[in-house]
């Protein structure tokens, strides 16, 4: 529960609650108009009573307007089976269950298990599981619709939506795109330059990477090729914070650059994993002891495991970065078409 002493903030909190339940299309437009209407009502009431309205008076206006979910339902298009009052909640539950529970469970748990059990017939296992997913989605959607259709026809809905208090609505979350943090960019720049210098020194000073093992271990010849790919990556890591510092208003740049860097790194990792092993070789030639050979083998396997782990981590990171970029541009697009924000004008 959150309380406020500012009646204007109460309107913002109300609009935020309505926004949650509104369909994406026309969301900002409808919300701006509703906000304007509420503020006009408040102004009118203030002229009538001759003083600024207090929290309880504003809450009274909001309560008269209706519970956020009910208002959102009315503002949306008309519905048949599930009425406008609970349609936003129905839509929310449907999305949550289908997209965020059933689909991930099938894709990330059931398909891998069935594929592992199927052996050579993995393609059939995938097809069969996808078929089950399809039926599962239909059955789940049917059950949810049925449950909501029953709820819709019970008087409990009306009584539940009338018992609400605008003063108990959550505080407003600011969603505007803040410019990138300068301190963060400066730290990134420092470490990127430090890493770049370290990288350039390694070929001449192997001990900086291998420590005492540099006495008998050296980079395999293939590293000359890999090095040429790693250096531009390290340079890009320097460029990123430089651009962020120079153009902090480019809110799109950090997420896009993070994605680009992750993709390039993954490409380089792919090359290294495919053609690199062994990564380190003994430099002593015939004088190498059995212990040196053992150390070299352990270090090479450790590098291989680390690179494979990094490859997996980066693949997941790319999906996350892609989602961030998509969300960023979706929000930005919504803001371009948005005539008003939640803030009072």
């Amino acid at each position: 529960m959150s309380k406020t002493k500012n009646p204007e903030e109460l309107v913002d909190r109300y609009l935020q609650a309505v926004r949650f339940w509104l369909p994406r299309s026309q969301k900002e437009d409808l919300l701006a108009e509703l906000g304007e209407d509420l503020r006009s009502q408040i102004e009118d009431k203030e002229s009538e009573v001759g003083h600024a309205l207090g929290e309880s008076e504003v809450a009274e206006i909001l309560k008269r307007c209706g519970a956020p979910i009910v208002v959102a339902g009315r503002l949306g298009p008309p519905r048949q089976l599930i009425g406008t009052t609970i349609f936003p909640m129905y839509q929310f539950v449907l999305k949550m269950v289908l997209l965020w529970i059933i689909v991930p469970v099938f894709l990330f748990i059931l398909i891998p298990i069935n594929v592992a059990n199927a052996g050579a017939n993995w393609a059939e296992a995938v097809a069969a599981t996808l078929g089950q997913l399809w039926s599962g989605l239909f059955i789940a959607a049917g059950i949810i619709t049925l449950v909501f259709a029953i709820i819709e026809r019970t008087p409990a809905v009306t009584s539940a939506t009338s018992k609400w208090d605008p003063r108990k609505l959550p505080l407003v979350h600011k969603t505007e795109h803040k410019p990138a943090s300068r301190l963060q960019a400066a730290c990134q720049l420092f470490f990127a330059v430090f890493g770049f210098v370290w990288l350039l020194l390694i070929p001449q000073h192997r001990w900086m990477l291998l420590g005492p093992a540099a006495a008998f271990l050296g980079a395999a010849p293939i590293w000359h090729k890999f090095f040429q790919m790693i250096v531009p990556l390290a340079l890009f890591a320097i460029l990123r914070p430089v651009v962020t510092l120079a153009k902090p208003q480019w809110a799109w740049f950090p997420p896009v650059a993070e994605l680009a860097q992750a993709v390039f790194t993954l490409i380089v990792l792919n090359f290294i994993l495919r053609g690199g092993f062994p990564y380190l070789v003994l430099t002593g030639g015939a004088s190498a002891t059995a212990e040196h050979i053992k150390v070299a083998a352990i270090v090479n396997v450790s590098i291989l495991i680390s690179l494979a782990g990094a490859w997996l981590g980066l693949s997941i990171a790319i999906v996350i970065h892609l989602w961030k970029v998509f969300r960023f541009f979706r929000k930005r697009r919504a803001q371009v078409h948005e005539p008003l924000s939640l803030e009072a004008h």
């Binding site: 026309q26 409808l30 701006a32 108009e33 509703l34 304007e36 209407d37 503020r39 006009s40 009502q41 009118d44 307007c65 209706g66 009910v70 208002v71 339902g73 009315r74 503002l75 949306g76 298009p77 008309p78 005539p339 008003l340 009072a344 004008h345």
Partner: protein, 117 residues
């Protein structure tokens, strides 16, 4: 469900049905003069036709989609407001609807008089 509750529900549904068609006509008539949402709601309420936000704004959007209204976001009193007014097509439609309304009204009045209501 008791009979009383059932009756009031039926009445409410019929009342809403009756109002629905009238609202479009009332809104179109009021928008011969440019207004924004709240002043339109107030004007309708002052003439005895209360309409809540959740009914008015979707109705305005529907009428605009049908080409009967045009709207524009404009700043007034330091606040952005969406102003609506009738389009040329809306003017034509309103004239036709008014004729139809008069016809229905005359017929209904006759019917109600026959029935002694």
């Amino acid at each position: 469900m008791s009979n009383g509750t059932n009756n009031s529900e039926v009445f409410e549904n019929l009342r809403l049905e009756l109002r629905r068609g009238c609202l479009s006509l009332a809104v179109l008539t009021q928008l011969r003069t440019e207004r924004y949402g709240y002043t339109l709601r107030k004007a309708l309420a002052d003439d005895g036709l209360e309409i809540d936000e959740g009914t008015l704004y979707p109705l305005l959007r529907r009428l605009e989609r049908q080409g009967l209204l045009v709207s524009q976001w404009r700043e007034e009193d330091k606040r952005n407001k969406r102003f609506y007014r009738l389009s040329a097509e809306g003017e034509r439609m309103l004239s036709q609807l008014m004729v139809e309304w008069q016809r229905i009204n005359t017929s209904l009045n006759k019917i109600l008089q026959y029935e002694g209501v």
